[in-house]
Symmetry: C2
Subunit: 339 residues, 2 copies
């Protein structure tokens, strides 16, 4: 099997040959007049349709790197697209930076790159360029991918911030929560046999955002990744200086995720999603958004709660048993390297 | 000593507290109406003065992380600024993504972050946001930082590409070469006592580029990092479909770098720089650029050669002994983790 050597990362001929070979195997969206992957220049250049550029960076360290529903390449492309999308922007271009361990399989690297490129291509996001580094064996665990996605705010669109939730808003989640976190945690605990058909929910949320923006008025939105729904709600409540009350009964969670959570002793509300949005929307448009999402196939989308004025920064959970408890920000290790 | 724990990377309360604490200690350039570090939102937003956005990403894995002349934070900010600057663009904003090993000293992290922030601040580049991940002990060697810098092309400025060199052009380097590579290699070989006063040349090249653009006509420019001057010249020759001939006699190299290169058995022309530019400029403006660089304090800037028509992609070195040899792209390991 062909493996990565330190020479592949040295910036000389071997690196150039490898990177060119790998990138010939993937399909890349081209933007006219842009300077991108073909150029292998110091940086890249792209014309943005509006002056308002939205940009996000994330490093992906997920362990294991291949999992039901995706791999680190799919995750790295999806995650940064989602960060731009939940701000109300249209992702347009991306950069990736790969740091790989000496000895890593070049075939696996190709598989991962193809996953990453497939997401960008299907989302019409141009992969403009990147970086490639090799660390000696034992100095990094397999592979870390960092992606930057840039987008623009279409004319007459407003930026959707975590701080925009208003009293009276309804809280919508776009689908069942916690699958990504449950899958990765189960794999790490060595109980993958318990997963059944459960897969990571890893997928772009651009379509969800487009539908919601078209059909209603979104005041705040987040993709609940590390820290899960619990962290996302707390961040919105805190930054918007409101309280949020959610109904446990209404939160869509798959039976398998509940069963795994009980087995592992973890709160499903703290489990990472990689393809969901939680949004705070104006009450008069909440049902319209929900119907549009259902019609588009997002059948698990639900109104799970609402925003209240009193008690700034507090998130309350109305439990299935009928009680009310504070839903805190998750603390402790959770699962490291979930994304 | 306070150390990084896995909880610091879990995306919950501990991470939020640490990141907020660290970022309170650094000074950050603010751009009016931008959504940046203060917001801790999913992504960031900035208005760019022109529609032409220039962007670069790089992961920095340098070992050791502290070295004479800088540290991984300074390098991570400088390196990505330089990639944007050598394209003729004005850097405006940045993102950083830090992946750190469990057990890493929080004090060292603070030092590194301050170095990074100092570069961005002194260059008037707004640090808009980032990511922070922790990998378990032994799964990553200390710290890897990825930075993205975005810039814009000022009105009436053209993008400077590697492919723009023209026959007749003069080749200029902005200063002595190979110091960064020599310093890191010496540290890694355990012969730091041989370094004397030698320091990494790590510094932004924005001022060099500004002076050169103002005083002449740059057809191609690169910062010669991994692979050094040899790789940079080969890339320009190949992409511009020209040949380049340089005079060994004219290439500015410090005595200490030559001595270290001889001791280590490496070619100084393949040693990385982190604060130099090699540019191909129209012959009628070469002297003007050189004079302006000298006047601005870049006293080691030199015209080292010229561009020829014949033999596409070839780089020739006229040696001090008077012979002519092909200067190949560097091959082999060089020094891994040089940047």
């Amino acid at each position: 099997m062909e493996r990565i050597t330190l020479a592949h990362g040295a910036g000389g001929k071997e690196m150039e040959d490898l990177v060119k070979k790998l990138f010939q195997k993937i399909k890349v969206v081209k933007i006219p007049d842009s300077i991108g992957l073909d150029n292998f220049d110091d940086g890249s250049s792209v014309n943005v349709p509006t002056s308002s550029v939205v940009i996000s960076i994330d490093s992906y360290t997920v362990d294991p790197i291949f999992f039901p529903g995706g791999d680190i390449g799919k995750l790295a492309a999806t995650g940064s697209i989602n960060d731009v999308a939940v701000m109300g922007a249209t992702p347009i271009a991306a950069l990736d930076s790969i740091v790989v361990e000496e000895g890593f399989s070049i075939k696996d690297l190709e598989t991962i790159l193809k996953s990453l490129a497939n997401v960008f291509e299907s989302e019409n996001v141009a992969l403009l360029g990147g970086d490639f580094k090799v660390m000696p064996k034992g100095k990094i665990d397999k592979i870390v991918i960092t992606t930057t996605v840039i987008g623009y705010l279409p004319p007459n669109h407003k930026l959707i911030l975590d701080s925009g939730a208003k009293p009276g808003d309804k809280i919508i989640v776009s689908g069942t929560i916690g699958e990504h976190g449950a899958v990765i945690t189960a794999l790490r605990m060595g109980i993958e046999t318990e997963l059944g058909n459960l897969k990571s929910d890893c997928m772009p949320v651009t379509k969800v955002m487009k539908i919601a923006i078209k059909n209603g008025d979104i005041h705040a939105a987040k993709d609940p990744t590390r820290g899960g729904l619990a962290m996302a709600l707390n961040e919105i409540a805190e930054k918007s200086k409101v309280s949020i009350i959610v109904d446990e009964e209404e939160i869509p969670i798959r039976e398998e995720v509940i069963a795994l959570s009980e087995m592992l002793g973890i709160d499903p509300l703290a489990l990472a999603c990689e393809g969901r949005v939680v949004m705070s929307v104006s009450p008069d448009t909440a049902e319209d958004i929900l119907t549009a999402l259902h019609d588009a196939g997002y059948r698990d989308a639900r109104i799970i709660g609402e925003v209240q004025e009193k008690e700034e920064g507090l998130v309350l959970l109305r439990t299935k048993a009928g009680g009310l408890r504070i839903l805190e920000k998750p603390t402790g290790e959770l699962t490291p390297r979930i994304c």
